[in-house]
Protein backbone atom coordinates (compact mmCIF):
# COMPACT_ATOMS: atom_id res chain seq x y z
CA UNK A 1 0.00 0.00 0.00
CA UNK A 2 1.34 3.41 -0.92
CA UNK A 3 0.65 6.86 0.49
CA UNK A 4 -0.34 9.19 -2.32
CA UNK A 5 -1.14 12.39 -0.44
CA UNK A 6 -1.78 13.78 3.01
CA UNK A 7 -4.88 12.29 4.58
CA UNK A 8 -6.67 13.61 7.62
CA UNK A 9 -9.67 12.59 9.70
CA UNK A 10 -11.28 13.81 12.89
CA UNK A 11 -11.83 17.16 14.56
CA UNK A 12 -10.41 19.10 17.47
CA UNK A 13 -13.58 18.89 19.47
CA UNK A 14 -13.86 17.21 22.85
CA UNK A 15 -13.69 13.37 22.83
CA UNK A 16 -12.29 13.35 19.30
CA UNK A 17 -8.81 13.06 17.82
CA UNK A 18 -7.49 14.59 14.62
CA UNK A 19 -5.13 12.28 12.78
CA UNK A 20 -3.03 13.49 9.85
CA UNK A 21 -1.11 10.92 7.85
CA UNK A 22 1.57 11.63 5.26
CA UNK A 23 4.47 9.93 3.57
CA UNK A 24 7.43 9.11 5.78
CA UNK A 25 10.80 7.46 5.26
CA UNK A 26 11.69 6.18 8.67
CA UNK A 27 9.06 3.70 9.88
CA UNK A 28 5.98 4.96 11.70
CA UNK A 29 6.78 8.31 13.28
CA UNK A 30 4.11 9.76 15.53
CA UNK A 31 3.91 13.31 16.80
CA UNK A 32 1.23 13.26 19.46
CA UNK A 33 -0.32 16.25 21.16
CA UNK A 34 -2.60 15.38 24.06
CA UNK A 35 -3.46 16.73 27.46
CA UNK A 36 -3.45 13.20 28.82
CA UNK A 37 -0.18 12.28 27.13
CA UNK A 38 1.50 11.52 30.43
CA UNK A 39 -1.10 8.96 31.39
CA UNK A 40 -2.30 7.64 28.03
CA UNK A 41 0.29 8.73 25.45
CA UNK A 42 1.79 5.26 25.09
CA UNK A 43 -1.62 3.65 24.71
CA UNK A 44 -2.74 6.19 22.07
CA UNK A 45 0.45 5.72 20.08
CA UNK A 46 0.08 1.95 20.33
CA UNK A 47 -3.45 2.05 18.92
CA UNK A 48 -2.37 4.32 16.05
CA UNK A 49 0.69 2.19 15.24
CA UNK A 50 -1.27 -1.06 15.25
CA UNK A 51 -4.03 0.31 13.07
CA UNK A 52 -1.53 1.63 10.52
CA UNK A 53 0.46 -1.62 10.49
CA UNK A 54 -2.69 -3.68 10.07
CA UNK A 55 -3.56 -1.50 7.13
CA UNK A 56 -0.29 -2.49 5.50
CA UNK A 57 1.63 0.79 5.76
CA UNK A 58 5.22 0.99 6.95
CA UNK A 59 6.76 4.41 6.38
CA UNK A 60 4.31 6.94 7.70
CA UNK A 61 4.42 10.30 9.39
CA UNK A 62 1.52 10.82 11.78
CA UNK A 63 0.49 14.06 13.43
CA UNK A 64 -2.24 13.52 15.98
CA UNK A 65 -4.02 16.03 18.20
CA UNK A 66 -6.01 14.21 20.84
CA UNK A 67 -8.91 15.72 22.74
CA UNK A 68 -9.63 12.74 24.95
CA UNK A 69 -10.70 10.17 22.37
CA UNK A 70 -11.52 6.58 23.29
CA UNK A 71 -9.56 3.75 21.63
CA UNK A 72 -12.38 2.94 19.21
CA UNK A 73 -12.43 6.56 18.04
CA UNK A 74 -8.65 6.62 17.65
CA UNK A 75 -8.81 3.47 15.54
CA UNK A 76 -11.62 4.79 13.36
CA UNK A 77 -9.97 8.16 12.77
CA UNK A 78 -6.60 6.57 12.00
CA UNK A 79 -8.18 4.16 9.57
CA UNK A 80 -10.12 6.92 7.81
CA UNK A 81 -6.98 9.08 7.54
CA UNK A 82 -5.03 6.10 6.14
CA UNK A 83 -7.73 5.40 3.56
CA UNK A 84 -7.71 9.03 2.46
CA UNK A 85 -3.92 9.14 2.30
CA UNK A 86 -3.79 6.00 0.17
CA UNK A 87 -6.85 7.03 -1.85
CA UNK A 88 -8.62 3.79 -0.99
CA UNK A 89 -11.67 5.32 0.67
CA UNK A 90 -13.89 3.63 -1.89
CA UNK A 91 -12.63 0.15 -0.92
CA UNK A 92 -12.86 0.19 2.88
CA UNK A 93 -10.99 -2.59 4.61
CA UNK A 94 -13.13 -2.55 7.72
CA UNK A 95 -11.71 -5.80 9.03
CA UNK A 96 -8.74 -3.78 10.24
CA UNK A 97 -11.00 -2.39 12.91
Amino acid sequence: MEIKKTGVAGTLESSDIQVMISKGSNGIEIELDSEVKKAYGDQIEKVITETIKNYGLNDVKVKAVDKGALDCVIKARTLAAAQRATETSDQPDLEVL
Binding site: L12, S14, M20, K63
Partner: protein
Protein backbone atom coordinates in the same frame (compact mmCIF):
# COMPACT_ATOMS: atom_id res chain seq x y z
CA UNK B 1 -26.54 22.96 20.09
CA UNK B 2 -24.57 25.48 18.02
CA UNK B 3 -24.74 25.13 14.27
CA UNK B 4 -21.95 25.84 11.77
CA UNK B 5 -23.04 28.03 8.85
CA UNK B 6 -21.35 29.62 5.87
CA UNK B 7 -21.29 33.40 6.01
CA UNK B 8 -21.28 35.18 2.67
CA UNK B 9 -19.75 38.57 3.30
CA UNK B 10 -20.81 39.98 -0.04
CA UNK B 11 -24.36 39.98 1.34
CA UNK B 12 -24.77 43.34 2.99
CA UNK B 13 -26.85 42.18 5.96
CA UNK B 14 -24.55 39.23 6.70
CA UNK B 15 -21.51 41.44 6.48
CA UNK B 16 -23.04 43.96 8.86
CA UNK B 17 -23.88 41.30 11.42
CA UNK B 18 -20.41 39.77 11.12
CA UNK B 19 -18.69 43.12 11.43
CA UNK B 20 -20.61 44.26 14.48
CA UNK B 21 -19.93 40.92 16.16
CA UNK B 22 -16.18 41.32 15.57
CA UNK B 23 -16.32 44.90 16.79
CA UNK B 24 -17.72 43.76 20.13
CA UNK B 25 -14.63 41.54 20.33
CA UNK B 26 -12.25 44.43 19.78
CA UNK B 27 -11.46 43.99 16.09
CA UNK B 28 -11.83 47.22 14.15
CA UNK B 29 -9.69 46.92 11.03
CA UNK B 30 -11.93 46.05 8.08
CA UNK B 31 -9.77 47.57 5.36
CA UNK B 32 -9.76 46.14 1.83
CA UNK B 33 -6.22 44.91 2.35
CA UNK B 34 -7.50 42.50 5.02
CA UNK B 35 -10.95 41.64 3.66
CA UNK B 36 -10.24 41.20 -0.05
CA UNK B 37 -8.02 38.19 0.51
CA UNK B 38 -10.66 36.23 2.43
CA UNK B 39 -11.75 33.07 0.60
CA UNK B 40 -14.40 31.85 2.97
CA UNK B 41 -16.05 32.71 6.27
CA UNK B 42 -17.83 30.45 8.74
CA UNK B 43 -20.04 31.27 11.67
CA UNK B 44 -21.54 29.47 14.66
CA UNK B 45 -25.21 30.12 15.37
CA UNK B 46 -26.77 29.27 18.72
CA UNK B 47 -30.31 27.98 19.31
CA UNK B 48 -31.76 31.49 19.26
CA UNK B 49 -30.10 32.27 15.95
CA UNK B 50 -27.41 34.58 17.34
CA UNK B 51 -23.94 34.64 15.87
CA UNK B 52 -21.70 33.34 18.65
CA UNK B 53 -18.42 32.66 16.84
CA UNK B 54 -16.79 33.28 13.49
CA UNK B 55 -13.59 32.64 11.60
CA UNK B 56 -12.27 33.17 8.07
CA UNK B 57 -9.78 31.65 5.68
CA UNK B 58 -7.41 33.57 3.43
CA UNK B 59 -5.31 31.12 1.43
CA UNK B 60 -3.84 28.99 4.19
CA UNK B 61 -4.14 31.63 6.90
CA UNK B 62 -6.90 31.67 9.52
CA UNK B 63 -8.18 35.18 10.23
CA UNK B 64 -10.87 37.12 12.05
CA UNK B 65 -11.51 34.40 14.59
CA UNK B 66 -13.74 35.59 17.39
CA UNK B 67 -15.82 33.69 19.92
CA UNK B 68 -18.46 34.91 22.31
CA UNK B 69 -17.46 33.86 25.81
CA UNK B 70 -20.88 33.34 27.40
CA UNK B 71 -20.75 29.64 26.57
CA UNK B 72 -21.43 26.71 28.87
CA UNK B 73 -18.24 24.73 28.25
CA UNK B 74 -15.22 27.00 28.05
CA UNK B 75 -13.37 26.64 24.76
CA UNK B 76 -15.94 24.41 23.04
CA UNK B 77 -16.99 27.06 20.52
CA UNK B 78 -13.43 28.04 19.78
CA UNK B 79 -12.55 24.38 19.13
CA UNK B 80 -15.59 23.98 16.94
CA UNK B 81 -14.97 27.03 14.78
CA UNK B 82 -11.26 26.23 14.31
CA UNK B 83 -12.10 22.60 13.53
CA UNK B 84 -14.69 23.68 10.98
CA UNK B 85 -12.24 26.06 9.31
CA UNK B 86 -9.76 23.20 9.10
CA UNK B 87 -12.34 20.86 7.58
CA UNK B 88 -12.90 23.51 4.93
CA UNK B 89 -9.16 23.67 4.23
CA UNK B 90 -8.79 19.88 4.19
CA UNK B 91 -11.63 19.54 1.72
CA UNK B 92 -9.64 21.92 -0.50
CA UNK B 93 -6.55 19.76 -0.08
CA UNK B 94 -4.79 22.30 2.13
CA UNK B 95 -3.19 20.48 5.04
CA UNK B 96 -0.97 23.20 6.39
CA UNK B 97 -2.28 26.41 7.89
CA UNK B 98 -1.07 29.43 9.78
CA UNK B 99 -2.48 31.93 12.20
CA UNK B 100 -1.29 35.38 13.21
CA UNK B 101 -2.99 36.47 16.38
CA UNK B 102 -2.75 38.55 19.53
CA UNK B 103 -0.05 37.26 21.85
CA UNK B 104 -2.59 36.40 24.56
CA UNK B 105 -4.44 33.94 22.29
CA UNK B 106 -1.36 31.91 21.47
CA UNK B 107 -2.09 29.42 24.24
CA UNK B 108 -5.64 28.82 22.95
CA UNK B 109 -4.25 27.77 19.59
CA UNK B 110 -1.45 25.76 21.16
CA UNK B 111 -4.14 23.90 23.06
CA UNK B 112 -5.48 22.75 19.68
CA UNK B 113 -2.14 21.40 18.54
CA UNK B 114 -0.86 24.52 16.79
CA UNK B 115 2.85 25.05 17.10
CA UNK B 116 4.14 28.47 18.09
CA UNK B 117 6.77 29.75 15.67
CA UNK B 118 7.23 33.18 17.16
CA UNK B 119 5.85 35.29 19.97
CA UNK B 120 6.30 39.00 20.52
CA UNK B 121 4.64 41.42 22.91
CA UNK B 122 1.88 42.13 20.45
CA UNK B 123 1.56 39.10 18.25
CA UNK B 124 1.98 35.36 17.90
CA UNK B 125 2.55 33.30 14.77
CA UNK B 126 1.56 29.64 14.78
CA UNK B 127 1.23 26.80 12.31
CA UNK B 128 -0.67 23.55 12.09
CA UNK B 129 -0.40 20.50 9.91
CA UNK B 130 1.91 19.02 7.39
CA UNK B 131 4.57 19.76 6.19
CA UNK B 132 5.66 21.91 9.15
CA UNK B 133 8.77 24.00 9.75
CA UNK B 134 10.81 20.95 10.81
CA UNK B 135 9.94 19.21 7.54
CA UNK B 136 10.81 22.38 5.62
CA UNK B 137 14.21 22.72 7.28
CA UNK B 138 14.99 19.00 6.97
CA UNK B 139 14.42 19.24 3.23
CA UNK B 140 16.87 22.11 2.69
CA UNK B 141 20.22 21.14 1.18
CA UNK B 142 22.97 20.69 3.74
CA UNK B 143 26.68 20.06 3.42
CA UNK B 144 28.81 17.50 5.19
CA UNK B 145 29.84 18.51 8.71
CA UNK B 146 27.77 21.69 8.57
CA UNK B 147 28.03 22.06 12.37
CA UNK B 148 31.65 23.07 12.00
CA UNK B 149 31.25 25.24 8.92
CA UNK B 150 30.87 28.98 8.68
CA UNK B 151 27.34 29.48 7.44
CA UNK B 152 25.58 32.72 6.49
CA UNK B 153 22.19 33.72 5.13
CA UNK B 154 20.75 36.40 2.89
CA UNK B 155 17.00 36.97 2.67
CA UNK B 156 15.73 38.81 -0.38
CA UNK B 157 12.64 39.48 -2.37
CA UNK B 158 14.77 40.13 -5.47
CA UNK B 159 12.10 41.84 -7.50
CA UNK B 160 14.09 41.48 -9.76
CA UNK B 161 17.64 40.24 -8.98
CA UNK B 162 20.08 43.12 -9.57
CA UNK B 163 23.83 43.55 -9.37
CA UNK B 164 23.19 45.02 -5.93
CA UNK B 165 21.79 41.66 -4.76
CA UNK B 166 24.62 39.91 -6.54
CA UNK B 167 27.18 42.06 -4.73
CA UNK B 168 25.64 41.15 -1.36
CA UNK B 169 25.60 37.41 -2.13
CA UNK B 170 29.12 37.49 -3.53
CA UNK B 171 30.43 39.21 -0.44
CA UNK B 172 28.77 36.60 1.80
CA UNK B 173 30.03 33.83 -0.46
CA UNK B 174 33.63 35.06 -0.17
CA UNK B 175 33.49 35.32 3.60
CA UNK B 176 31.74 32.01 4.39
CA UNK B 177 31.82 28.27 3.70
CA UNK B 178 28.14 28.15 2.82
CA UNK B 179 25.51 30.78 2.06
CA UNK B 180 21.75 30.27 2.00
CA UNK B 181 19.83 32.74 -0.12
CA UNK B 182 16.19 32.67 0.99
CA UNK B 183 13.86 34.09 -1.61
CA UNK B 184 10.70 35.54 -0.08
CA UNK B 185 7.59 33.73 -1.25
CA UNK B 186 4.67 35.99 -2.08
CA UNK B 187 3.04 36.62 -5.39
CA UNK B 188 2.25 40.30 -5.01
CA UNK B 189 5.46 41.48 -6.66
CA UNK B 190 5.93 42.46 -10.30
CA UNK B 191 8.06 39.36 -10.81
CA UNK B 192 6.37 36.14 -9.72
CA UNK B 193 7.90 33.90 -7.06
CA UNK B 194 9.02 31.39 -9.68
CA UNK B 195 10.59 34.11 -11.84
CA UNK B 196 12.39 35.67 -8.89
CA UNK B 197 13.71 32.25 -7.83
CA UNK B 198 14.90 31.50 -11.34
CA UNK B 199 16.71 34.81 -11.75
CA UNK B 200 18.44 34.52 -8.38
CA UNK B 201 19.54 30.97 -9.22
CA UNK B 202 20.84 31.96 -12.64
CA UNK B 203 22.53 35.07 -11.30
CA UNK B 204 24.46 33.14 -8.63
CA UNK B 205 25.15 29.93 -10.53
CA UNK B 206 28.93 30.48 -10.62
CA UNK B 207 29.11 30.74 -6.81
CA UNK B 208 29.46 27.10 -5.78
CA UNK B 209 28.89 27.61 -2.06
CA UNK B 210 25.55 29.40 -2.52
CA UNK B 211 22.25 27.57 -2.09
CA UNK B 212 19.18 29.41 -3.37
CA UNK B 213 16.03 28.22 -1.61
CA UNK B 214 12.46 29.38 -1.16
CA UNK B 215 11.72 31.04 2.17
CA UNK B 216 8.21 29.56 2.02
CA UNK B 217 5.93 31.00 4.68
CA UNK B 218 8.78 31.20 7.16
CA UNK B 219 10.30 34.41 5.83
CA UNK B 220 7.37 36.58 6.79
CA UNK B 221 6.59 39.24 4.24
CA UNK B 222 5.03 42.55 5.22
CA UNK B 223 2.93 42.36 2.07
CA UNK B 224 1.01 39.38 3.36
CA UNK B 225 1.18 39.98 7.09
CA UNK B 226 -2.34 40.37 8.48
CA UNK B 227 -2.70 43.51 10.54
CA UNK B 228 -6.38 43.41 11.47
CA UNK B 229 -5.72 42.41 15.07
CA UNK B 230 -3.19 45.14 15.77
CA UNK B 231 -4.07 48.36 17.50
CA UNK B 232 -2.89 50.50 14.61
CA UNK B 233 -1.54 49.98 11.13
CA UNK B 234 1.61 51.82 12.20
CA UNK B 235 2.57 48.80 14.29
CA UNK B 236 2.57 46.56 11.24
CA UNK B 237 6.19 46.86 10.16
CA UNK B 238 7.46 46.62 13.70
CA UNK B 239 5.40 43.55 14.58
CA UNK B 240 6.03 41.83 11.26
CA UNK B 241 9.79 42.36 11.54
CA UNK B 242 9.85 41.04 15.08
CA UNK B 243 7.89 37.92 14.17
CA UNK B 244 9.99 37.35 11.06
CA UNK B 245 13.26 37.75 12.96
CA UNK B 246 12.12 35.45 15.75
CA UNK B 247 11.18 32.60 13.41
CA UNK B 248 14.62 32.95 11.87
CA UNK B 249 16.34 33.01 15.24
CA UNK B 250 14.26 30.27 16.92
CA UNK B 251 14.16 27.72 14.12
CA UNK B 252 16.04 28.48 10.91
CA UNK B 253 19.40 29.66 12.25
CA UNK B 254 19.98 26.94 14.88
CA UNK B 255 18.95 24.12 12.53
CA UNK B 256 21.26 25.22 9.71
CA UNK B 257 24.03 26.57 11.95
CA UNK B 258 23.64 30.05 10.45
CA UNK B 259 25.85 32.44 12.35
CA UNK B 260 25.48 35.61 10.34
CA UNK B 261 22.95 37.34 8.14
CA UNK B 262 23.93 39.83 5.45
CA UNK B 263 21.78 42.87 4.78
CA UNK B 264 21.99 45.70 2.31
CA UNK B 265 22.35 49.14 3.82
CA UNK B 266 19.34 51.39 3.31
CA UNK B 267 20.28 55.03 2.96
CA UNK B 268 16.96 56.15 1.51
CA UNK B 269 14.12 53.98 2.70
CA UNK B 270 13.23 54.69 6.31
CA UNK B 271 11.12 51.55 6.63
CA UNK B 272 13.93 49.27 5.54
CA UNK B 273 16.29 51.17 7.74
CA UNK B 274 14.16 50.58 10.83
CA UNK B 275 13.68 47.00 9.65
CA UNK B 276 17.45 46.50 9.62
CA UNK B 277 17.78 47.99 13.09
CA UNK B 278 15.03 45.81 14.52
CA UNK B 279 16.54 42.73 12.94
CA UNK B 280 19.87 43.52 14.52
CA UNK B 281 18.24 44.00 17.89
CA UNK B 282 16.53 40.60 17.83
CA UNK B 283 19.04 38.39 16.03
CA UNK B 284 22.22 39.30 17.86
CA UNK B 285 24.19 37.93 19.55
CA UNK B 286 23.25 34.44 18.27
CA UNK B 287 23.19 35.59 14.66
CA UNK B 288 25.53 38.40 13.69
CA UNK B 289 23.95 41.00 11.42
CA UNK B 290 26.35 42.30 8.80
CA UNK B 291 25.23 45.42 6.95
CA UNK B 292 26.88 45.95 3.60
CA UNK B 293 26.96 49.39 1.95
CA UNK B 294 24.99 49.49 -1.29
CA UNK B 295 26.75 48.90 -4.56
CA UNK B 296 27.12 52.05 -6.64
CA UNK B 297 27.25 52.04 -10.40
CA UNK B 298 28.35 55.34 -11.96
CA UNK B 299 27.49 57.02 -8.67
CA UNK B 300 23.96 55.71 -8.73
CA UNK B 301 22.80 53.20 -6.16
CA UNK B 302 21.71 49.93 -7.65
CA UNK B 303 18.15 49.44 -6.61
CA UNK B 304 15.31 47.18 -7.75
CA UNK B 305 12.67 49.90 -7.38
CA UNK B 306 14.52 52.01 -9.97
CA UNK B 307 14.71 49.02 -12.27
CA UNK B 308 10.94 48.51 -12.10
CA UNK B 309 10.34 52.19 -12.88
CA UNK B 310 12.39 51.91 -16.05
CA UNK B 311 10.61 48.71 -17.04
CA UNK B 312 7.41 50.72 -16.89
CA UNK B 313 8.77 53.36 -19.24
CA UNK B 314 10.61 50.78 -21.35
CA UNK B 315 13.99 52.53 -21.06
CA UNK B 316 16.07 49.38 -20.83
CA UNK B 317 19.31 51.15 -21.75
CA UNK B 318 19.09 52.97 -18.39
CA UNK B 319 19.11 49.74 -16.38
CA UNK B 320 21.44 47.47 -18.27
CA UNK B 321 24.34 48.55 -16.06
CA UNK B 322 22.39 47.59 -12.92
CA UNK B 323 21.57 44.04 -13.90
CA UNK B 324 23.29 40.70 -14.34
CA UNK B 325 23.01 39.53 -17.92
CA UNK B 326 20.54 36.80 -16.96
CA UNK B 327 18.09 39.28 -15.42
CA UNK B 328 18.55 41.78 -18.23
CA UNK B 329 17.86 39.15 -20.89
CA UNK B 330 14.78 37.98 -19.05
CA UNK B 331 13.40 41.52 -18.87
CA UNK B 332 14.21 42.15 -22.51
CA UNK B 333 12.46 38.97 -23.61
CA UNK B 334 9.42 39.54 -21.41
CA UNK B 335 9.15 43.31 -21.52
CA UNK B 336 5.62 43.45 -22.92
CA UNK B 337 4.32 40.93 -20.40
CA UNK B 338 5.91 42.85 -17.50
CA UNK B 339 4.56 46.18 -18.71
CA UNK B 340 1.17 44.56 -19.07
CA UNK B 341 1.31 43.47 -15.43
CA UNK B 342 2.15 47.04 -14.40
CA UNK B 343 -0.80 48.32 -16.39
CA UNK B 344 -3.06 45.79 -14.72
CA UNK B 345 -2.16 47.30 -11.40
CA UNK B 346 0.92 45.59 -9.97
CA UNK B 347 2.60 48.15 -7.77
CA UNK B 348 5.99 49.29 -9.02
CA UNK B 349 7.00 51.06 -5.83
CA UNK B 350 7.40 49.38 -2.48
CA UNK B 351 9.45 46.24 -2.16
Amino acid sequence: MDKVVDLYLNQVSTRKKWKSFLETKGIHDFSDREIDVIDHTLGLIDDEGNLVATGSIAGNVLKYIAVSNDEVIAGARFNKIVSSLQQYLFSNQIFHCFVFTKAKYSSSFKHLGFKELALSEQAAFLEYGDPNIEDYLNNLPQVHDQKNKKVAAVVMNANPFTLGHRYLVEKASNENDLVYVFVVKEDLSLFSTAERMKLVKEGTQDLSNVEVVSGEEYMVSSATFPAYFLKSAAELIDVQTTIDAKVFKNFVAPKLNIKSRYLGEEPFSRTTNSYNKKLQEILSPEVKVIIIPRLREKDKIVNATEVRKYIKTGSLDKIEAFLPKTTYDFIKNNLLELQDRIKKGTNVNGN
